[in-house]
Symmetry: C2
Subunit: 334 residues, 2 copies
C-alpha cells in the first residue's frame, strides 16, 4: 500500500478502487455503502431535513478535534438545528497529491468515532485528488439527511416576542483554540475546541418542549451573527445581557488582547435556542443534564422594540447594538 496519496487514487480506476475497498469500506462498512452504487437507496417517510457543508479548517489537527470530527459534528449539528434526528451522511474528500496516508487514516478514524458518537452512518462518498499545490492538504464535504419529528416548527423566521434566548454554554473556544494553535499560544489549563455533536442535546430539548421556535449552532460569525439572523429573518428585536454570557477566562483574555469580540468567534459545540417563555425553565433544566448543556443559561429575550436589531446590555448598564461580523477575523475556522 502506498504511504502517500497519488493522483491515481482519484482516477476512478484501480487505485481509487483499492483505496475505497481497503480503507474506506473497511472502516465505514454498512449495507448501503458497500453496494458501491452511484447513489445509496433507502426507504424514508416523514419530514426530511437535508444539509451540506464543506470543511477547509486549518490546521487539520487541532486541540479537541480535527477536520474529520468537525466535518461530522458540523453536519450533524446543522441537521439538529432543524430539530431533526440525523440519520445518514455523505463524505466527499478533496485531497492534495502527496498527502500522507497515515494522516488520512487518522482523519477517517476520527470520522468513524464521531459518526458512532452521533449515531449516524456514512452511506455515500467520493474522493478527488488534485495536484500538489492545488489544494491545502485536505478539504471535506459532508452532506446529511435526518428525520424531523412531527409537531416541530423550528426556523430562523419563527422567533416571537417574549421568547427566551437560551445559550447552551461558554462561547468562543473553537475559534480561539484554533488561533492558539496557529500562533503557538499556550493556555493553562489547555484550551480545546468545543467541537461536539449536539443531536442528543436537541433530542432531549424537544422531548420537554415542542415550542422551540429557533435553533442555531453559532459557528462562523459567532453568536452575534446567529442572533442577527434570527432578528432579521423573524423581523423582531433581540435583547441580551452581556453578563449572562459565559466565557472561559482564556477566551476572554485572548479576545481582550487582540481586540476580538467573543460574540463574533466561532463555536462548534454550542447552540442558541429561542423558546416560548412558559417552557424556558424546563428546557433549561433538561439541557443542564446533558454533558453539552451543563452551563446552559438564559441570556436574553425577543422584544417588540428595535426590530431586526440585536441590542446588548453591558455590565456598565449601557446598551450597544451588536452587529454581524464584518470583515474576517479568523479565516478557515471550519
Amino acid at each position: 500500500m502506498e504511504d502517500k496519496i497519488l493522483l491515481a487514487h482519484g482516477s476512478g480506476g484501480k487505485l481509487s478502487h483499492d483505496l475505497l475497498k481497503n480503507t474506506l469500506l473497511r472502516l465505514f462498512d454498512n449495507p448501503l455503502l458497500s453496494k458501491l452504487d452511484d447513489s445509496a437507496v433507502f426507504d424514508f417517510s416523514g419530514r426530511l431535513a437535508f444539509t451540506t457543508d464543506s470543511y477547509v479548517v486549518t490546521p487539520i489537527f487541532f486541540p479537541g478535534g480535527d477536520i474529520g470530527k468537525l466535518a461530522v459534528c458540523g453536519t450533524v449539528n446543522d441537521l439538529s438545528m432543524a430539530g431533526a434526528t440525523p440519520l445518514y451522511l455523505s463524505l466527499s474528500l478533496i485531497i492534495e497529491e502527496g498527502f500522507p496516508m497515515a494522516d488520512l487514516e487518522n482523519i477517517l478514524l476520527s470520522i468513524l468515532k464521531a459518526t458512532e458518537d452521533a449515531a449516524v452512518k456514512i452511506i455515500a462518498g467520493d474522493t478527488k485528488v488534485v495536484h500538489r499545490g492545488n489544494a491545502d492538504k485536505i478539504f471535506i464535504n459532508t452532506s446529511g439527511v435526518g428525520l424531523v419529528p412531527n409537531g416541530l416548527e423550528i426556523s430562523s423566521c419563527n422567533a416571537r416576542v417574549g421568547d427566551k434566548i437560551i445559550l447552551s454554554g461558554t462561547i468562543g473556544e473553537h475559534g480561539i483554540a484554533l488561533l492558539g494553535q496557529r500562533e503557538g499560544l499556550r493556555f493553562e489549563p489547555p484550551l480545546q475546541s468545543d467541537c461536539a455533536p449536539l443531536n442528543s442535546l436537541v433530542n432531549e430539548m424537544i422531548e420537554v418542549s415542542k415550542n422551540i421556535h429557533c435553533l442555531r449552532d453559532p459557528t462562523r460569525g459567532g453568536l452575534a451573527s446567529a442572533l442577527n439572523e434570527f432578528a432579521e429573518s423573524s423581523n423582531v428585536g433581540i435583547r441580551i445581557d452581556e453578563e449572562a454570557i459565559p466565557i472561559q477566562s482564556a477566551v476572554q483574555a485572548v479576545c481582550e488582547l487582540m481586540g476580538f469580540d467573543p460574540l463574533h468567534i466561532a463555536n462548534e459545540g454550542k447552540l442558541v435556542a429561542l423558546v416560548v417563555p412558559q417552557d424556558a425553565d424546563k428546557v433549561l433544566a433538561r439541557m443542564r443534564q446533558n454533558r453539552y448543556g451543563e452551563q446552559a443559561r438564559i441570556i436574553g429575550e425577543v422584544v417588540p422594540e428595535h426590530p431586526r436589531k440585536v441590542v446588548m446590555k453591558t455590565p456598565l448598564g449601557t446598551s450597544r447594538i451588536l452587529d454581524m461580523l464584518t470583515g474576517e477575523l479568523l479565516p478557515r475556522i471550519c
Copy 2:
C-alpha cells in the same frame, strides 16, 4: 459590490450574508432555500436515493460546459443511475481568495440553467473561501436526493447472465475535449464535452422496462472501469464487441496518437445499462428517441464464462481482457 472574492465572503458575517442574499438567493430563490436555515426541510415518502460528488475539473470553463454545469449533471446522473427521479441538490462552494466575481456569476448562471434542464432545485448550500494559493480557483460539491419508483432494483450487483449491455452513445468526448483545451489542440469539427443530464433518458427507459439490472454513467475510469465494477460486484463475466462501440473520429485519433484507450476516457453524458434480453430491443428503441440516446446500441452481454472479467472481441477477431484503468491518464477531469 466587490469584483473579486474576499476571505470575508467566507466569514459567516456580513459579506457572506450579502453574497448569499444578492447573488445566490437572487438566482436560486425557492421557498426551501430562502428560509436560510441550517437544513432544508420537506416531506418525503418512498425510496430515497442520496449521493454526493465534489468537482475539481480544470480548466473550469471547457468546450461544452463548465464546472457548474458538470456539478449539476454529475450528481443528477448519479441519482439517475439508481433509477431515481432527481429532486433536490445541495451546492457547496470552496473558492480561492481573489476569484473573479464575474466568473462566479457565470458558473452560477450555468448551474441555474442545468438545474432548470434537469428539473431539480437547489435547496441547501455553503460557501467557504480559502487564501490565495490554497485551492485552484473553485471546487464545487453537489449532493442530491431523488425518488426511486417502486418496482426497480437497479444495482451494480444485479447483473445476470444473458443481460444485454446497452451503451447510450459515443464515448470519450469529455476527457478528450478537456485534454484538447489543456493542450491547445484544435478539432475540426470542434470537439465538445458530452456533459448532459441523463434523467429524462433514464426516465424513458424505465417507462418501457422495469428489468434494467445495472446502470452507470462511465465517468472517471471510463467504460472499462464501469463494466469491470459490474463484473466484480455481480460476480459475472462480461463480453463486449469493440466494433459495436461508437467513437467520434477526433476522439479515436487523439487516443491513437497518445496511446490512450478510449474505453478508459471519462464521459459525462453517457450511460451503460444491463437489461434482460427480452426487453433490450424496446429499451434501445426508446433510448434512440431521446436526444441523449440517439446513438444507443447493444455492445455486448453478460456471460457465464470468465467471472469478474471483462473480455472484448477486437475487429481482428481476437479477444483481450479489458482491465480497469491503472495509473492516472487525465487528472482533474471532473
